[in-house]
């Protein structure tokens, strides 16, 4: 059972109360939500629904917008890919941020916030399209990225685990060379440690591969789905049988 989108296990009661009521529109709650984002950045939790409420407050009250908090919300959303979280956050940002504008128009505006959003959107695209090697090289290519993810504790680790999770769903066996690039773990020791301790995978150095134990996603079974037959489907026929007899 996955929690519904509007729920979050780690959400404090006071935040929950605000979200349920009309205070979610009250500009005075902005600081509470901002503190909550800071807390999520520290303790590595993520509450998409609450963060969207903060972005909505920014949407309605542009003068309250704190660029840094807004980009932190986006950065946090990156750590739960693949999911619609990032694009739902973008949807509440002002249209002038033009997250996927590549023709450089916005650069002319010379706005740091716009530039940050566009950079993060680029990272999101790389993650969502599973170009993990490019993701790491892009992330490491510019100091601006380092600034953007600096507030999010364990950003790289969170993303790495997420990538590993996706690999585990699709692969039963993967070559060490590819894994190195995808996880950005260049030393063999670190890679082995991560694969065995964090993911519980088996490293086969002789064959140069890492084996992923069978899980629900990568076992791949063929099956024939049979039809569900319930008595209710025959209701009409049965009813008619009775009616005609009478």
């Amino acid at each position: 059972m996955v929690a519904a989108f509007d729920k979050c296990e780690t959400r404090p009661a006071n935040i929950d109360a605000i979200l349920e009521g009309l205070d979610r529109y009250n500009p005075e709650t902005t600081t509470i939500f901002q503190d909550y984002v800071a807390q999520q950045c520290e303790d590595r939790s993520f509450d998409c629904y609450a963060n969207l409420a903060l972005l909505k407050l920014y949407q309605f009250n542009p003068h309250l917008l704190q660029a840094e908090t807004a980009t932190n919300v986006l950065t946090k959303a990156l750590t739960v890919f693949p999911s619609p979280a990032f694009s739902l956050c973008l949807a509440l940002l002002p249209a002038y941020t033009q997250p996927f504008n590549t023709d450089g128009q916005a650069a002319a505006q010379n706005n740091d916030f716009v530039e940050s959003v566009q950079k993060l959107a680029q990272l999101s695209t790389l993650l969502e399209s599973a170009q993990y090697a490019q993701f790491w090289s892009t992330l490491n290519s510019d100091d601006l990225y380092a600034d953007l993810v600096a507030d999010v504790a364990g950003f790289e680790e969170l993303v790495r685990i997420r990538i590993a999770l996706e690999i585990g769903k699709t692969f039963r066996e993967i070559s060490i060379d590819i894994l190195e690039q995808w996880l950005d773990l260049r030393s063999r020791d670190a890679l082995e440690k991560f694969a065995t301790e964090v993911c519980s995978w088996q490293v086969d150095n002789a064959a140069g591969v890492v084996r992923v134990p069978t899980n629900k996603e990568n076992e791949v079974r063929s099956e024939v789905k049979s039809e569900r037959v319930g008595i209710d489907m025959f209701g009409r026929v049965i009813r008619r049988g009775f009616e005609q007899a009478a």
């Binding site: 989108f5 309605f60 694009s87 249209a95 997250p99 969502e128 063929s222 049979s226 039809e227 489907m233």
Partner: protein, 476 residues
């Protein structure tokens, strides 16, 4: 076998749905007839205005009447003031007001028109700022930043919901209790109850227009999405609800749920088609109808699904060639995805006044949302290609497949990962609209053992019950 019989023989439409639907169809007939008498009513009220009550009657009628297409800014401001004073009167009088409302459908018309004017005002304001040509209007808009403000619009909707205790009433109905026990002084009156109820639908729409898709769905927590729901009694409300719910699902990448919503309403509309022709809302409904077919085409391309027969043939008729191109995928299909999305998405708005001094920084909100949606399409555009190839094999070498597709093996690995991810989707089972369970949304599954792709296909067994029932209905 006639269409009617086939529709009746389809078991998955719900067993009591036919009786329900007949009732709705009759109801709709009444509405159409009613609209005619409504226009007469308009004429009589406009004859004599002057005294207090008649002034109020005029306000009530005006609130439900669309503005002229070429209405000036002054008219729009005046219309906003009219709504403000009307809602103020309804909400803040001492005790519930005893109003004789022109009609049962009046409540929907008022909320619908209220939001429509908000939407078109915001879009107009944004357009004035972007073009930067009409300095006079820009100045007028600059001086009135709070007219049609998002806070006042939401305030009206939320106040109507709270005053009528409609959510409490609906929750009670869900539990099988008597809603009147929770209705209170206001909510027990049809005026407040209906305004409150349609304000929920209105909120769904406003949230969606502002790009808050999860909150849009959350708003409907207390409303049950079925034909027994109150919104189903007013055709336009029924239609609007499913359009915005389906669209919100689509933006949350829950395509299976989006398809379910669009199919539901489109099947219903196809059955009531004969009656719409007479109605004056026919054009609006026909347009939304086409939009939903476009959206369903997008969703089906992203997530291959077996559609209801009626929908499937109508879709082939309207978008046959485009659907084929969408389903083929590949970069060539991108412009088509964008074109259909733009033609079928809601008219998104920006809730705050634009920057009149720098026309260049104002971006059309529709462009913003199209960009966000298209990013996801670009990321998944190779899924159809992957699927069509893998269907042919049980095992396949990755490098060989990469050779067929003329791409780098590294790229192909990414495509395989993406396709696998997107074939897992949250799907609604029960409870609130935001709830759901992850489900495998695809009959094709695979796993990689280094460079060897193992493919498996889930086959659907023969569907005998449908066939059996259909034939039974014919001979027996």
């Amino acid at each position: 076998m006639s269409y009617e019989e086939r529709a009746n023989a389809r078991p998955n439409l719900g067993d009591d749905s036919d009786v329900e639907e007949e009732a709705l169809v009759n109801d709709y007939r009444e509405q159409v007839n009613f609209d005619d008498s409504m226009s007469e009513l308009d004429r009589t009220t406009s004859l004599g205005a002057g005294s207090q009550t008649q002034d109020l009657q005029a306000q009530l009628a005006a609130a439900a009447t669309p503005l002229e297409y070429q209405a000036t800014l002054e008219t729009k401001f005046a219309s906003y003031d009219n709504y403000c004073s009307l809602f103020h009167y309804i909400l803040n009088s001492e005790g519930p007001v005893d109003l004789e409302v022109p009609s049962y459908y009046w409540a929907w018309d008022v909320i619908d028109e209220f939001i429509y004017q908000f939407e078109s005002f915001c879009r107009y304001r944004n357009r004035v700022a972007r073009s930067g040509s009409n300095e006079e209007e820009a100045q007028l808009l600059r001086e009135n930043p709070n007219t049609w403000g998002c806070y006042s619009v939401l305030n009206v909707l939320y106040s109507l919901i709270q005053k009528s205790q409609i959510n409490e009433q609906l929750a009670a109905m869900k539990r099988g209790e008597d809603p009147l026990a929770y209705a209170g002084e206001y909510g027990s009156r049809p005026l407040y109850k209906m305004l409150g109820y349609f304000s929920i639908i209105g909120l769904l729409r406003v949230h969606c227009l502002l790009g808050d898709f999860s909150l849009a769905l959350k708003t409907l927590d207390d409303i049950e999405m079925n034909k027994k729901a109150m919104f189903a009694r007013v055709m336009a409300a029924h239609f609007t609800t499913y359009y915005y719910v389906g669209f919100s699902y689509m933006m949350m990448r829950r395509y299976a749920d989006a398809i379910r919503m669009f199919s539901h309403i489109l099947v219903y509309v196809s059955r009531t088609k004969n009656f719409q022709k007479g109605g004056n809302s026919y054009d609006a409904i026909a347009k939304k109808n086409d939009q939903m077919y476009a959206l369903i085409a997008i969703c089906v391309a992203l997530q291959p699904t077996r559609l209801d027969d009626t929908i499937h043939s109508a879709l082939r008729e309207k978008y046959g060639e485009q659907l084929h191109r969408l389903q083929q995928g590949g970069p060539e299909a991108l412009p088509l995805f964008e074109e259909l999305f733009r033609s079928a998405c809601p008219k998104f708005i920006s809730p705050t006044p634009p920057d009149f001094d720098n026309p260049a920084v104002n971006v059309d909100p529709v462009d913003h949302y199209t960009g966000i949606f298209m990013d996801e399409i670009k990321n998944t555009i190779h899924n159809p290609t992957i699927r069509s190839y893998l269907k042919l094999y049980t095992t396949m070498d990755l490098k060989k497949l990469a050779g067929f597709l003329e791409v780098e093996p590294e790229k192909l690995r990414s495509w395989l990962l993406v396709n696998k991810q997107r074939s897992r989707q949250v799907r609604w089972i029960e409870g609130g609209l935001l709830e759901g369970e992850p489900a495998v949304a695809n009959d094709l599954d695979y796993a990689l053992e280094s460079d060897l792709i193992h493919v498996s296909e889930t086959k659907a067994g023969r569907r005998l019950v449908d066939w059996y029932l259909r034939n039974l209905a014919r001979v027996y």
